[in-house]
């Protein structure tokens, strides 16, 4: 019900829908306020018992009023109605109820409550064991969970961002505003973040005055000044959700959730804020009292009831009652009276409760029961004068306030119990650089908060080396809090602690009785404090009950651990920017467009995209294209973009010595104009990478790495240069991206090159493994006579700006000569035919010895991995060694990943002698071929073994051969 003349917001009327029904609300007010304004009290069903539930709070701690907003793929579950702002067109649905909120079938659980207490699942679903996975789990999973996801890809936009400041002020209530003002006037870079859409905290929800005027007016004045300061950034709708090391804070900003959908606008932004100092002014959260049936819609926290009235002009009921143990809560009754709303009674547990002429006050009172199936209709009370029933549709309750210490615990500190305020307060120095001010550390009066905000900001400024300005403290209320502990009203029936997880006083007592006495054990046994609200309302009361049940004090019982996030954070916001193309950078070669034009399917190679094959008209399968491309290279000439291979320029007086140390074999004696194959080991003696390195001049080398390991090798070279051999004078630079490099392979490769080079290749001056400068149609480039195909081949490199043009030219010329472009599939077949290695073989667990390259390990010099590679165990003949495999029946499949067994041995793990790493169909040899590792493989050439792939159901007899299946003498490449 709206109350004329109350409320401080002037939002335009907005239509919204709840469970399909259209209502009128005010733009910008929380959905909860709009529902209450429309006299909707039943908002959802509880998790376990499907009890009817309403709105409990007016803040982000709300456990009950969770709704789903939006529709289809963009639907968001578990949206707190107390946080979601109303906008014209908002669509919200209740959760956890079927077929409808008012008649929910699963509410039968509530009838069986005697059997569903704490530990029910653990005790019930134990036997028979075979039912665990097949029966119990599917059923429980179907019933479990709050809300639901569509399962579809989320089409919404999310964002992440980084921010930096001298002082981060978390919370913009009285303390936070003063802290920000103090720091803002000092000139420090300040970020003031608050989870509410409008800053001001309790100033917006209370009727006390600051500076002899309404508190919200004072707050607006401060905010105007802060907004005018260029060194202050205001971040409303931003919840600081986590504290991380070295002054890093996570914060979630609601960007587009409060307005009509705009596909360009992010819904949320996850901020990483780095602050030199921070002041936590997060305030406090009012705690409920546990009494019988305290969970009916219409039972709310006292501060929420007056907040909805004072801030939003909404009365949560027409006949309000109050149940409290402290003076502060009496504000609710007074504010209701001021608004002309009937206060049917104030039940105060103390015998010192303040009296009133406007409503009856029941001292030493307690609420012992409530009635109303889908919403509160009356309560039963007991008090000093007897017992009675009171008709009421809204019971405001207050068990006192819990300071919001959560963020102070994120780095592991535990809060400290304070008997005076009956609350946990932040431990001193809990987070380096973070101070706490105001209600968050138990300073509850407004005057106290204002002063504390100034004081904590001033100390932070001092630590930053800045002078704090003199701030006049405004006049305001300084009322004492006055509270007597009250956690629960004893009696029969169920008194609820954790509304979200349906945990009752009885459950906690039972946990203690079953020896789950540690607070952490109790939490897990009862589910107290789990799920979206993390027990912000209920944890302290629950452990007070536990303390009572175990006969210990609250201080001794302690709290559970508060971990990030403070309130729920969408996974989509955490992962913002990493969906789709944002997941990883895409790297494109200069030939990319031309390859795509040819219809080549592009495959990922690390971050690069490379052509798989180049289909031609009439080719029905990739194999036909691949076989043709292999044939072109073996018979004429093929062209392949190899720009993705890492190219590292190494210069310096010690460049040769550096390479000698990096590679297992020797490079310092390599002559300018020559190229050598090199093997690089890790410190543990296994192979890291291989490739060719060219000597371009005195003290100047060009290293080639595999595509996959280019980044790793660069880091390794930096490691060697800076850590292992810092005395060497050498400079390392990546030139991968500067050069477009193309392999030209096949018997007609020289003929092709001669048609493009300004001077023909002189075969005498340019033998196998030579390199040198060339001029390609007037462009200075480099030519290397190296081969990854086993054919007479070259790699020609030009500055990348010319890559696209040269590629097209090379392909056109190759086609004239009966060849053409070839892709990754053909490249792989060519190298398998030749027994050449890739990271399928250099997979991190293999050594040079295993590869049959042990002879490359120099005995005349030290190199990375030398000592470890010499371990006896790595040189045993029984190790699995690289072999070639050829099926007895030509063309039979030899799938990679298959294991190798003796012909008659059962194909079980213990009998495996090795495995297949690479496989190909060789059109050259008319059969399938494979490379693999086989125990004592080098001594078993000629043996017939059995290859078994259980996953693909393949079993093939094959012959063990040397790794090189085609042209083992290598005459084709050299000739």
């Amino acid at each position: 019900m709206r109350v004329a003349g109350f409320g401080i917001h002037a939002g335009a009327a907005a239509r919204f829908r709840f469970d399909g029904q259209s209502f009128e609300g005010r733009e910008g007010e929380p959905l909860a306020a709009a529902l209450l304004a429309n006299d909707i009290r039943l908002v959802g069903r509880s998790f376990k018992y499907h009890r009817p539930r309403g709105i409990l709070t007016a803040g982000s701690e709300e456990p009950n009023a969770l709704v789903t907003t939006g529709d289809g793929a963009g639907a968001t579950p578990n949206v707190r109605a107390t946080v979601q702002e109303v906008w014209d067109g908002l669509e919200a649905r209740s959760q956890n109820a079927w077929p409808s909120l008012r008649a929910d079938v699963m509410a039968v659980n509530d009838l069986a409550w005697r059997f569903l207490g704490a530990g029910f699942y653990y005790k019930t679903f134990m036997w028979p064991r075979a039912f665990w996975e097949r029966v119990y789990e599917p059923i429980i999973r179907r019933a479990a969970g709050l809300g639901g996801l569509s399962g579809a890809h989320n089409p919404d936009r999310y964002e992440r961002a980084f921010a930096y400041c001298d002082l981060l002020v978390i919370g913009a209530g009285p303390a936070g505003l003063m802290a920000a003002l103090t720091a803002g006037r000092s000139g420090a870079r300040v970020i003031l973040a608050d989870e509410d859409a409008r800053m001001g905290g309790r100033c917006l929800s209370e009727r006390f005055e600051i500076c002899a005027g309404p508190a919200h007016v004072w707050a607006s004045g401060v905010l105007d000044e802060l907004a005018s300061l260029p060194n202050v950034t205001l971040m409303p709708r931003t919840t600081v959700t986590g504290v991380y090391d070295q002054g890093t804070y996570g914060a979630l900003e609601r960007v587009g959730l409060h307005r009509a959908a705009d596909p360009r606008l992010p819904l949320e932004c996850f901020w990483r804020i780095v602050a030199k100092r921070a002041v936590l002014c997060a305030g406090a959260i009012e705690r409920p009292v546990a009494f019988k049936d305290n969970d009916r819609p219409g039972v709310m926290t006292a501060s929420a009831v007056r907040g909805y009235l004072n801030r939003w002009g909404v009365a949560a009921g027409q006949s309000v009652t109050l149940f409290a143990n402290n003076d502060d809560a009496h504000r609710t009754a007074r504010d209701m009276v001021a608004a002309g709303i009937k206060v049917a009674g104030v039940i105060d547990s103390r015998d010192t409760a303040p009296d009133s002429r406007d409503y009856p006050v029941y001292r030493q009172g307690r609420v012992v029961g409530t009635r109303g199936r889908l919403g509160l209709t009356s309560i039963s009370i007991a008090h000093a004068g007897g017992v009675r029933d009171i008709r009421t549709d809204c019971l405001a309750m207050s068990g006192g306030w819990n300071p919001s210490v959560h963020l102070t615990c994120h780095l592991g500190a535990r809060p400290v119990w304070d008997p005076e305020t009956q609350a946990f307060l932040p431990a001193d120095g809990a987070v380096p650089g973070l101070a706490v001010a105001g209600a968050a550390r138990g300073v509850f009066s407004t005057a106290g908060c204002l002063a504390d905000g100034v004081a904590q900001a001033a100390s932070a400024l001092e630590a930053l080396g800045l002078a704090a300005p003199k701030i006049d403290l405004p006049d305001t209320e300084d009322d004492p809090y006055r509270l007597a502990a009250l956690w629960q009203v004893p009696g029969k029936g169920r008194a609820w602690l954790d509304f979200q997880n349906d945990v009752t006083v009885k459950d906690v007592v039972q946990a203690a009785a079953e020896n789950f006495r540690s607070v952490e054990h109790m939490k897990r046994y009862t589910t107290q404090g789990m799920a979206t609200d993390q027990g912000k309302n209920s944890n302290v009361a629950a452990l007070a009950v536990l303390a009572d049940a175990t006969g210990r004090g609250i201080a001794e019982t302690g709290t559970t651990t508060f971990r990030p996030p403070f309130s729920p954070v969408s996974i989509a916001a955490l992962g913002a920017g990493a969906q789709g193309k944002g997941f990883a950078p895409q790297r494109f070669t200069t030939s990319h467009a031309a390859s795509v034009e040819r219809g080549a399917p592009m495959i990922e190679a690390g971050l690069w995209y490379r052509p798989s094959y180049f289909p031609r008209a009439g080719e029905a399968t990739w194999r036909e294209a691949c076989d043709r491309e292999v044939g072109m290279v073996r018979g004429a000439v093929g062209v392949c973009d190899v720009s993705t291979l890492g190219k590292i320029d190494i210069k310096g007086p010690d460049a040769g010595a550096f390479l000698d140390f990096v590679y297992a074999n020797t490079f310092s004696k390599l002559k300018p104009g020559r190229v050598r194959y090199g093997l690089m080991l890790r410190e543990d003696g296994h192979v890291m990478d291989d490739g060719t390195t060219a000597c371009l001049g005195e003290g100047h080398y060009l290293m080639t790495t595999t595509t996959a390991a280019a980044g790793l090798v660069m880091r390794h070279l930096d490691y060697v240069a800076q850590v292992l051999r810092p005395e060497m004078d050498v400079q390392i630079a990546s030139v991968t991206e500067h050069w477009a490099q193309f392999a030209v392979a096949g018997p007609k490769s020289r003929e092709l090159l001669d048609s493009l080079l300004d001077a023909p290749v002189d075969p005498e001056a340019f033998p196998f493994m030579a390199c040198g400068p060339v001029s390609v149609t007037g462009v200075s480039g480099r030519l290397f006579r190296i081969s990854f195909s086993g054919e007479h081949a070259y790699e020609v490199a030009v500055p990348a700006r010319y890559g696209a043009a040269l590629w097209r030219l090379l392909v056109a010329q190759a086609e004239v000569l009966g060849g053409g472009a070839y892709g990754m599939e053909a490249l792989n077949v060519l190298r398998i035919e030749k027994g050449l290695l890739t990271h399928a073989e250099l997979h991190g667990r293999t050594t040079a010895f295993d590869m049959g390259l042990g002879g490359m390990l120099s005995k005349k010099k030290d190199f990375v991995g030398r000592a470890a590679a010499g371990r006896a165990g790595l040189l045993e003949d029984s190790r699995q060694q690289l072999v070639g495999l050829r099926p007895v029946e030509a063309g039979a499949p030899l799938p990679a990943g298959a294991h190798l067994f003796e012909k008659t041995a059962p194909a079980v793990r213990g009998n495996s002698h090795g495995y297949v790493t690479s496989t190909a169909h060789s059109p050259t040899l008319g059969t399938t071929l494979a490379l693999g590792f086989l125990a004592s493989g080098r001594a078993r050439h000629g043996e017939t073994i059995r290859l078994v792939d259980h996953m693909r159901g393949v079993e093939t007899l094959c012959e063990v051969t040397g790794p090189v299946a085609f042209d083992p003498e290598g005459g084709r490449a050299r000739g």
């Binding site: 780095v274 944002g582 320029d649 310096g652 007086p653 004078d729 630079a733 991968t736 010319y802 030219l809």
Partner: protein, 179 residues
């Protein structure tokens, strides 16, 4: 004999305007990595100074003289852009002219947009005109340089030009939509 046509890294991708942000490819001219050998810093600076009127910048800094400019990219390493290097016999000089995509990001929202992508404080108080950082743009390693109050220059690997443009325009779209 045919001529090979040269293409720039961002050919077909830029220029682009999103909201009040302008993205454009920068023709940086020749780009060389200059890294003095041990004890060669002074001689290198002297040679650069004589030929081009500038020296190597210190960490996180840039130097400039006319079209020639240098930006620090690592300890003892700087990129020289806009001019061919003189003969430097005490430094490793590596031609990277074709290895980098150079993009200018200009407009009132330039910093707001880069705050979505770059994990470095770009506030003018911490990152003044002429400051440079080796850092990341999204998942890409990059050099970010402030060239003016509302202008930055981003340098990434040439092969990542398309991703850079995508990331910048996505971030700019979100910032612009905030209005």
């Amino acid at each position: 004999m045919v001529d090979l046509i040269a293409l720039t890294p961002c050919a077909g991708l830029l220029p682009l305007t999103v909201g009040n942000l302008a993205l454009a490819e920068v023709d940086a001219g020749p780009i060389h990595l200059i890294a003095p050998f041990r004890g060669g810093q002074a001689a290198t600076d002297a040679a650069l100074s004589k030929a081009l009127g500038l020296e190597m910048p210190g960490p996180q800094a840039t130097t400039r003289k006319g079209a020639a400019r240098m930006l620090s990219v690592g300890p003892g390493q700087a990129l020289l852009l806009g001019a061919a290097p003189p003969a430097l016999d005490q430094a490793a000089v590596t031609d990277q002219s074709d290895g980098w995509a150079v993009v200018s990001v200009t407009g009132p929202d330039a910093r707001e947009v880069l705050m979505r992508l770059v994990p470095v404080d770009l506030h003018p108080g911490a990152f003044a005109v002429g400051a440079t950082a080796r850092t990341m743009v999204g998942h890409m390693t990059a050099s970010v340089t402030r060239t003016d109050e509302e202008a930055f220059e981003i340098i990434v690997f040439r092969s990542m030009a398309r991703t850079l443009v995508h990331e910048l325009s996505e971030a700019a779209t979100g910032v612009a939509a905030r209005g």
